[in-house]
């Protein structure tokens, strides 16, 4: 067990993987200097420039080269700086990485971890603050992972490197400095959620930074006598249906909350599944469908707060409207 931050945790997991498997390489901008968030610190010094490959600002080729590396036997870890820039490489991710194994009839496969830091980045405005997990969850072939703690950034990165599929690995842009205990012996399964706060009255399903916001909300509502169960999904695709459905059966009320825009966000998929499979009351809380603004009052409109989560939970506990029994 060691105390370390979210960036160091991922770096530690990656270093261990690179030591045990020569095929693991890192490719992206600024990785030789440790990456802009320090998540590659020391790796080029340890493994050299041929395994920790500094690249031009060429997103298409960073991701496309990773596909070629994987098809030819390497296991690339792709640095994409922020998820917003990965849109310059969307063909390579969606048409190439996700499809290669299938369309070539299994002749090759793309064992790759593409690190696309996700989420609202304070003061960074519309092109550096998006949460795009739903885009990738929509694409057959991709695994989508969103760690929220140093332990998970260690264990889930390890699991992602081991799974053999193309993984969209969505670290949060503002969690890099988050400290926590990391037990290297503790493994995580992709597709397995964690109940991070057990509760009775309302299930809150969330992931990434909003896990922490939901925990704050749980403390708030507890003062009002409302007990919230917080589930951190950890993997967006495949998401842990069993854990969510079981919790929904216990509480009968589910709020899904995420930093991404609410419209067509991944919460909609979970809500639809709950509607198909349970009688639970369901609400969603995501960002409004507006770009993230620069100025603080504008930016705050896109921020999910503990108060908003708490209010949404309270709403789920209000008596059903007679005219619309589901509201």
């Amino acid at each position: 067990m060691a105390r370390m931050n979210y960036a160091r945790a991922s770096c530690t997991a990656l270093e261990a993987a690179m030591r045990s498997d020569d095929r693991v390489v890192v490719v992206g901008e600024d990785v030789g200097r440790g990456g802009i968030f320090g998540q590659y610190r020391g790796l080029q010094q340890a493994f050299g420039g041929k395994r920790v490959i500094d690249t031009p600002i060429s997103e298409s080729t960073i991701l496309g080269a990773a596909v070629g590396m994987a098809l030819a036997g390497l296991q690339p870890v792709v640095e994409m700086r922020v998820v917003d820039f990965a849109l310059c490489a969307i063909d390579e991710l969606v048409n190439q990485a996700a499809k290669a194994r299938y369309m070539f009839g299994g002749q090759g496969r793309v064992a790759m971890v593409a690190r696309l830091p996700n989420g609202l980045w304070s003061g960074s405005a519309a092109q550096h603050s998006q949460s795009l997990e739903a885009w990738f969850a929509h694409i057959p072939g991709l695994v989508v992972v969103a760690p929220a703690t140093p332990q998970d950034n260690y264990s889930l990165l390890q699991a992602s490197l081991a799974c053999g599929d193309p993984v969209v690995y969505l670290e949060h842009k503002e969690l890099w400095g988050l400290e926590g205990d990391v037990d290297p012996a503790k493994s995580a399964q992709l597709g397995e959620a964690e109940i991070v706060h057990p509760g009775r009255d309302v299930t809150v399903v969330t992931w990434s930074r909003t896990r922490h916001t939901a925990l704050e909300a749980a403390a708030l509502t507890e003062q009002q006598g409302v007990s919230i169960e917080v589930i951190d999904l950890r993997t967006i695709w495949p998401w842990d249906r069993d854990t969510v459905l079981a919790s929904a059966a216990r509480t009968g009320r589910v709020l899904i909350t995420h930093e991404a825009v609410q419209v067509a966000g991944f919460g909609a998929e979970i809500a639809a599944t709950l509607a198909e499979e349970t009688d639970a009351r369901v609400r969603r809380l995501g960002a409004p469908r507006i770009p993230v603004g620069y100025s603080m009052p504008l930016e705050d409109e896109s921020r999910i707060t503990p108060q908003a989560i708490s209010a949404a939970c309270t709403k789920l506990l209000e008596p059903r409207n007679a005219r619309n029994p589901h509201r």
Binding site: L71, L74, Q96, F104, P140, G141, D165, G191
Partner: protein
Amino acid sequence: MNKAVRDVELALALALYRTMARIRAFEDAAEEASKGGVAAFGASLSEAKVRGPLHLSTGQEAVAAGVCAHLKKSDLLTSTHRGHGHTIAKGAALDRMMCELFGRAPGYNGGKGGSMHIADFSVGMLGANGVVAAGIPIAVGAAHALRARGGSDVVACFFGDGAINRGPFLEGLNWAAVHALPILFVCEDNRWAATTASDATTAGAGALARAEAIGVPGAQVDGNDVFAVWEAAGRLLAEVRKGDGPRLLHAITYRVKGHVSVDAAAYRDAVKHDKELERDPLVIAAQRIATRDQLEAIGREAREEVAAALKIAHEAPWPEAKAAYTDVQDTGAGRWRG
């Protein structure tokens, strides 16, 4: 007989001709089997053996043959949507290719890819690609993998003249030059980007000029002269194998057919088109190899090989519907609907 031919052993000349003849025979048969197979360019969708877009490289065979004659099985190749020739020249079997075009289970991709994604990894052919220029970044990554493996293997990266107007061309050449990667970039310049003449949409002098500006040297060659292609590709590939970094071969050729098999290409000037047809690479090569009987025998053998491939493809089983769910991903397999 010119110098290039003198330098080439007759056996090699016949081998180059044989590769071209096999590509031609394969594509002629595929074209015939595709009739009615795509709903575009005024054609209607009906019962065709080869479905969907079929991009023929008819008339461009000399580029694939001349370059791939220098490649070993352990060398890698990335291709384009017009990739039958590259696949055949790299060593794939015609029957398994035809099965793939017919969508049958024994096809290279198990029927999941068809013509546009034809691949044979067992001979280092890493796939045709439905997206213009997409093979360039993949070739860059494959070259890193070869370098990690050690040895003198190279990647041959084929793309068309249309690809040089996409970003990955600039990105990939720059990257390959910076990292001195073992790649031969081959611009197969057939002068048509889909249904638009590429010179109408391309500024400057084209692929080689752009490559040289980036610091990737190369050569321009008559892409319909298989001996000229062979000679230039051999010289450039020797430099690439030596570790001198990437090179670019700009092969000027001509797309005899439309963009896809059912495109009659009526947008082209008929007089100019007929003049181009006189420069058939097989005819050019034949004129320079004075062994008519052998050439006829090669042509006959190629057509027989394709006829056998067609028979196998006709009789081959379809994939089972459940195969639609294999090779998607291991993590979360079975979760197809939520």
